[in-house]
Symmetry: C3
Subunit: 170 residues, 3 copies
């Protein structure tokens, strides 16, 4: 009985003590890519007070290849979801550079997700969930953000999605 | 003459003493709907410091019906104006949940209004005024906000407009 | 030799001591236009704490003429670049009104640039550089901002670009 109690307490502890974002990244087997240079005259993030404003990021993978095309036409909704997830990883790489450690994130405040698509597309939320789902997996409650998702008739270099965010840090 | 003076002072007082946002809502006979669940993996608002970032909201009425279609094609500019007003009421419901009372609003800081429309549409400001006019009616000087209005080729679930805002609170 | 050293030190000083934004404006021979009235029920900026949120501005020159049309179709990329530069000047006029002096700017935090264009356009970054290049010329390091650039199927009054920004001030 005493051992059962200890096991119970151990399991409870495992559940209650949320893993840190950095641990969570490892668990998901995600290694953040090097932060690429901006494609024009701007910087990837600016910090003002406790807020970090991140530039619009695109779905460029660790291999340097960017996912392009219109979601709902050349790309399926699943492709779009993966593009949004890839963009989230790119945003996290920039955020790690900005904060030294993702453990310093207090809250993902706002996410704006822009989907490159046709005028009859209606499933933007499902696409941008590719970003939101990962943020919540990594940060738990701190990852729950306000969000806007929209359809754009075009994006820089025909990238499939563009996502920007505002983050509160310690 | 003395009575005339009193009447004058009373009228002056009525004008000068701005009604509270909550009183103003009642006067306009607007009852805020229950805040609906987000349609994807995000939350309706996040507070950071004295700022509240609200998610993109759509024109869903108290009856749960969302106004859909492209403004300037299936919908007239007047329809778009009403959709923006309905969206404002939805934003206010979320803001009331976030603040407990709209009387705690110090300033509507920023409104971004996205209009679902064709590529030849040019009257976005008239549409988004449906939101702005109501905010100024409710909050007076505190309701005067910076704003951007734009045309989107598509929006989630084909809603007619999507509006997000940043609000400063006590 | 002694004179040569002094000349060297003077030149070094000229380079190192960044000119103030107001001086830089003069050097570039830019005189800020009067701030125009908003085209709808909103204000051109709102300050909250040390942040100023500027409304979406368009490419209206000192002569009151607005550059209209779709970039990549009726307008070339160069035209779009000039439109973005004109919009930046309009934003600076509002910012000067908000701050009394551009010298009080601590950081251009965020720029969102919306390009009026067709669905096959991909060169948004080159267009919005018209704004970013000027901001960096005027403010130097303080002018380096996070940015998002996107393609819109339409903008108010068919203006070629719309740009909004967030600025940190003293």
């Amino acid at each position: 009985m005493r051992i059962a109690s200890l096991v119970f307490l151990f399991l409870l502890f495992q559940t209650v003590s949320a893993q840190s974002p950095e641990e969570q990244l490892k668990k998901l087997n995600i290694s953040l890519p090097a932060v690429s240079q901006p494609i024009a005259n701007y910087v990837k993030f600016v910090r003002t007070g406790n807020l970090i404003f991140l530039a619009g990021h695109g779905p460029t993978g660790a291999d340097g290849v960017t996912i392009t095309g219109k979601v709902g036409a050349e790309l399926s909704i699943d492709d779009g979801y993966q593009a949004a997830r890839t963009t989230a990883i790119s945003l996290l790489a920039t955020l790690q550079q900005a904060t030294c450690s993702l453990n310093k994130v207090k809250r993902i405040v706002k996410v704006n997700g822009y989907v490159n698509c046709g005028s009859d597309f209606t499933q933007h939320p499902k696409v941008i969930n590719g970003c939101s789902d990962l943020l919540v997996q990594i940060f738990g409650e701190k990852g729950k953000h306000a969000r806007a998702a929209m359809g754009m008739n075009s994006l820089p270099n025909n990238m499939a999605v563009e996502i920007e965010m505002v983050v509160e840090v310690e």
